[in-house]
């Protein structure tokens, strides 16, 4: 029965997932607000000549640019009768929050609220960077040269890699990494360590 705690942990995580996902959905934009706010500030600070405004409506993050479209060509907004804008579904980067909550809440750890607050801060940071990466990909595809020619903008492959990492890996992996980090010095962690130690001594 060496790894009962770990099996219980995983089982409880799966059981808690529907509840945490429900809470995440019900919270709407509130749970992700710090991340969307940080992403907006980062974008406006990073490429102020391209990004005019960033705001949220519900769970959508809107990025308004200084550019418009005239006969299929990207031109400054002053030469067009509109501004190019696009929206980003913030849930694409925030669905790791209910996963992290399920992992942590199913763990036998003390200071649950404190740990959750720290973990959530870490996830917000990842989410903000993820939203910036998604916006960079959209700016690369929609605005193109005026964005890519800026000195502060990395090459296209880097933007592509950042986008793929932010969408495909980070939302599901970051919660696990933060959770494992926070498990240090817990009974579950010590049990796993003992398990490894016993195998080493059995050699």
């Amino acid at each position: 029965m060496r790894d009962v705690a770990f099996r219980q942990q995983l089982l409880m995580t799966v059981v808690l997932l529907p509840l945490t996902f429900l809470l995440w959905y019900a919270s709407g934009p509130a749970l992700t607000y710090p991340a969307t706010l940080a992403a907006g500030l980062l974008l406006e600070f990073w490429v102020p000549s391209v990004v005019a405004e960033v705001f949220t409506e519900g769970v959508e993050l809107y990025v308004v640019t200084h550019f418009g479209d005239a006969n299929g060509t990207v031109v400054p907004a002053t030469q067009a009768d509109h501004e190019i804008a696009f929206k980003i579904n913030t849930r694409l980067v925030s669905y790791g929050v209910p996963f992290y909550a399920a992992l942590l809440w199913s763990s036998r750890v003390d200071s649950l609220i404190g740990r959750f607050s720290v973990g959530l801060f870490g996830l917000w940071t990842m989410m903000a960077l993820g939203l910036v990466a998604i916006a960079a990909k959209d700016l690369m595809l929609v605005v193109g040269a005026p964005f890519l020619s800026l000195g502060s903008v990395p090459p296209m492959p880097i933007i592509g890699l950042a986008y793929q990492t932010s969408v495909l890996l980070i939302p599901s992996l970051a919660p696990v990494m933060i959770w494992l980090f926070q498990l240090r010095d817990t009974p579950l962690w010590r049990q796993l360590a003992d398990q490894l130690e016993s195998s080493r001594s059995s050699e």
Partner: protein, 171 residues
């Protein structure tokens, strides 16, 4: 533990970058993704002969609804996470290869369940489909990776295993 983390992150970064290279996508990932659609169709067909597989697309001949299996839906990223974890953990080459192979099978088995479930969820309710597709299934696949890795640790620490485990004092 810090050594594990560094090797894990380096392996993850390298493998993920390699996966995104165009030649790798063209010669490995896309053919593999196509084979997932073929396998999914082969599993469904005995129960539902309206399913057609064409390249990476699964289509229902009656409703016209189709799903295209793209990057992120082929389980490759989850497999990369598992491989990075296996590589980072001290064990023999044989154990690492075994874990990678069996883990790959376990992840892809669940991934085919994901593809088939999404194919039918999409025909039933598009909102539910999006929820499962974008939010729930990626988490469930990551839980699968965690379970596989936990089983691997258990196997390594088994009394009859000739593992060469050496872990940092904290881990």
């Amino acid at each position: 533990m810090s050594k594990f983390l560094i090797i894990f992150l380096v392996a993850l970064s390298v493998l993920f970058t390699v996966e995104l290279l165009i030649p790798v996508q063209h010669h490995v990932i896309q053919p593999f993704t196509t084979s997932l659609a073929t396998v999914s169709a082969a599993i469904i067909t005995p129960f539902d002969d309206n399913v057609i597989s064409s390249g990476r697309v699964l289509r229902d001949a009656l409703s016209g609804f189709a799903v295209s299996i793209e990057s992120g839906c082929n389980g490759v990223e989850a497999t990369i996470v598992l491989i990075a974890g296996v590589l980072a953990f001290p064990a023999s080459l044989r154990q690492k290869l075994t874990a990678t192979l069996l883990g790959f099978v376990a992840i892809q088995a669940l991934n085919i369940v994901r593809i088939i479930s999404l194919f039918y969820l999409g025909q039933w309710n598009y909102t539910i489909f999006e929820w499962f597709h974008l939010y729930l299934w990626p988490i469930l696949i990551m839980v699968d990776v965690l379970i596989v890795f936990a089983l691997y640790l258990r196997w390594l620490s088994g009394p009859n295993n000739d593992s060469q485990l050496t872990v940092d004092s904290h881990a």
